[in-house]
């Protein structure tokens, strides 16, 4: 009874610690985004004007903009005002359009989440399958094929793979019409490309873990007691190999989020990425700041989730076991 209670407390304490670290990371990120702002060349007013393509502004226009965006306030005051707004979900106004940043992002967020979520699922499934096949026949032809495949895919940036797949789908399979109109087909193809590209590294990592655990004691004992190779692999090698793999997935989620805008641009998927790319090309700073902060929060939340999962699965990670 007391064991169960202290175990629950240990998990909660570890989770609170991770949560605190996550909050620190998010706060640090928000500060960093602001500290970099003075590095940007040019007066913010000029940047706003150029973002709106106003060539020869009048003095009133400049004064109005300064007033509207609070540019005359000291730097730290603007940061605190912005942070206060962010906590309430108000990311300020876009320099380019003048519309609230949050509205522009939130409208496109579901499409991006669909893309990243689906590609994550595809990636996990695909790398799991490939790694299991490779580890089941280590050193023999299925393993070699998988290894060669992951080498090539790991060397192909996702946007290059996307272009090649598009070429093949349109010219080779004649899918041009399907991809132009149907949002569903575009989503599946874009997510598959992003996920399959990401899966190369994940497969290599899981394969290495599986092979390591196949050579350890528990697997040997199971084999000696007559378990077949498939059972040894899935019951004695897979669970312990999954844990470090899970942590690695959490870390590389950042790459998935960062890689999505390129894919959205290629497949003309109406997600946040496209919106942000426009903002990047005209230096619409409030939109960029909001995107960076949201992406970091998503990344931090995802790795927090992964850590919580690992804590639940593996008792060795709990604080009381670390003594």
């Amino acid at each position: 009874m007391t064991g169960a209670v202290s175990r629950g407390r240990g998990i909660i304490r570890a989770l609170v610690l991770r949560l605190w670290q996550a909050v620190l990371a998010a706060a640090g990120a928000s500060l960093l985004v602001w500290l970099m702002l003075p590095l940007a060349p040019g007066d913010p007013v000029d940047m706003i004007l150029s973002a709106r393509r106003i060539e020869e502004p009048t003095a009133e226009q400049i004064a109005a903009l300064r007033d509207r965006f609070g540019l005359d306030l000291p730097f730290w005051q603007r940061y605190l005002l912005w942070l206060g707004g962010v906590v309430q979900g108000d990311f300020g106004l876009s320099w380019r359009t003048g519309e609230p940043v949050w509205d522009g992002l939130v409208r496109r967020l579901p499409a991006s989440l669909q893309l990243v979520g689906l590609s994550f699922a595809i990636s996990v499934g695909w790398s799991l399958a490939l790694a299991l096949v490779a580890a089941r026949w280590t050193g023999r032809w299925p393993d070699r094929v998988v290894l060669a495949y992951t080498r090539i895919l790991a060397a192909t940036p996702s946007f290059v793979l996307a272009l090649l797949v598009l070429q093949f789908a349109v010219v080779g399979l004649g899918l041009g019409r399907v991809l132009s109109g149907g949002a569903g087909a575009t989503l599946v193809l874009a997510a598959a490309v992003l996920g399959i590209d990401r899966a190369a590294g994940w497969t290599q990592l899981l394969r290495a873990g599986l092979i390591e655990h196949l050579a350890r004691g528990p697997a040997d004992v199971a084999r000696a007691r007559g378990a077949g190779p498939g059972r040894v692999l899935t019951v004695y090698a897979l669970p312990p190999a999954l844990l470090p793999w899970l942590t690695a997935l959490g870390i590389s989620l950042g790459g998935l989020i960062g890689g999505a805008p390129v894919l959205e641009a290629i497949f003309t998927w109406p997600g946040v990425g496209q919106h942000v790319l426009t903002a990047l090309s005209v230096r619409d700073v409030p939109v960029i700041q909001a995107f960076v902060l949201i992406a970091v929060l998503a990344y931090v939340a995802a790795s927090l989730l992964v850590d919580a999962l690992a804590l639940l699965i593996d008792p060795r990670l709990r604080p009381e076991a670390r003594r």
Binding site: A25, A26, G28, A29, L31, L32, V33, M36, L37, L39, A40, P41, R151, I152, A154, A155, T156, P157, F159, V160, L163, L164, L166, Q167, V170, V171, G201, W202, Q204, L205, P244, A248, I251, S252, L253, G254, G255, I257, G258, G259, P261, V262, A265, I266, V276, L277, A279, L280, S281, R283, D284, V285, I288, Q289, F291, V292, A295, V296, Y299, V300
Partner: protein, 291 residues
């Protein structure tokens, strides 16, 4: 990125003379070395090998398929693709090399200073590293480009800003151990000046992990330079870069597939070379990988 946990352990120093020999004996290192040397030589010799000026259009020769005179065909404005690939190699590969060298130097200096300096210096530097590392690299690069504006120089700055922190952390971990290693302690006790201790006992054990890290990172830098240029945030027109070339011809792929395949192959081979070389270096640097 996936190689991270392994590198944290300090690696022994190895003489540079054995490096090429070791690489040529390693199964994937051999191919990595051959590929990397070839690509590097082509990038350096590019301007002398190029049959045509890379940026001058010749509308009379637009969209020629590969053949005599234009061995890799021409693009929509009649520019020779082989010449543009050679010219672009300097930006794709040269830029990635520049970023990797800058990251390694920054990481080396910051990491070693943190390990050698007072405790508060170490703490301040490492907390800053923690904050930068909490941001996914690509997102940070997006932020820097967004603030500085699109362009090749800004892109290189963004990539350096996005990636230096992890190198600094590894350098600090290795230097921290090296400063307290028996050899360094004994050297200090028999009166060897501090700068010689650093030169002989601290820098070598830091250098090898950073070399592996830098080589493994090269592939990512090549991919990032071409991806950002593809999006129009890096190399600007009319200059050639592999990713920018893909962007120029992406709507022509049904009529001119050669414009898509050649730059794609260049990017793929370069990243592959960096990955193979990095894997081999990692195996050579870790004791268990040497057998």
């Amino acid at each position: 990125m996936l190689a991270r946990p392994r590198l944290a352990a300090a690696m022994p120093a190895r003489p540079a003379s054995g490096l090429v020999a070791g690489l040529s004996r390693h199964p994937s290192g051999r191919w990595g070395l051959i590929l990397a040397l070839t690509l590097g030589a082509v990038a350096v010799a590019g301007p002398w090998l190029a049959p045509h000026p890379p940026n001058i259009p010749d509308y009379g020769a637009a969209l020629r398929p590969p053949g005599p005179g234009h061995w890799l065909g021409t693009d929509a404005t009649g520019r020779n693709q082989l010449s543009r690939l050679l010219d672009g190699a300097r930006r794709s590969l040269g830029g990635a090399a520049l970023v990797a060298v800058a990251i390694t130097l920054i990481g080396l200096v910051v990491g070693t200073l943190a390990a050698l300096g007072a405790r508060w210096v170490d703490a301040v530097v490492m907390r800053a590293v923690d904050v930068v590392m909490a941001l996914p690299g690509l997102i940070l690069a997006f932020a820097v480009i967004g603030l500085l504006g699109p362009g090749y120089t800004n892109l290189l700055i963004a990539l350096i800003a996005a990636d230096w922190a992890y190198t600094a952390r590894i350098a600090r971990a290795c230097a921290f151990e090296a400063v307290r290693s028996p050899a360094a302690i004994v050297a200090r006790q028999i009166g060897v000046p501090e700068w010689r201790v650093i030169l002989h006992h601290v820098l070598p054990p830091v250098f090898w992990p950073l070399l592996v890290l830098g080589t493994l990172g090269l592939g990512g830098q090549i991919a990032a330079i071409s991806a950002f240029s593809f999006l129009g945030l890096g190399v600007q027109v009319p200059h050639a870069e592999w990713g920018a070339m893909l962007a120029d011809s992406r709507h022509l792929f049904t009529v001119a597939p050669w414009l898509l395949l050649a730059p794609a192959a260049c990017i793929l081979l370069s990243v592959l070379a960096s990955n193979l070389l990095g894997e081999a270096l990692r195996d050579l640097a870790t004791p268990e990988g040497r057998s």
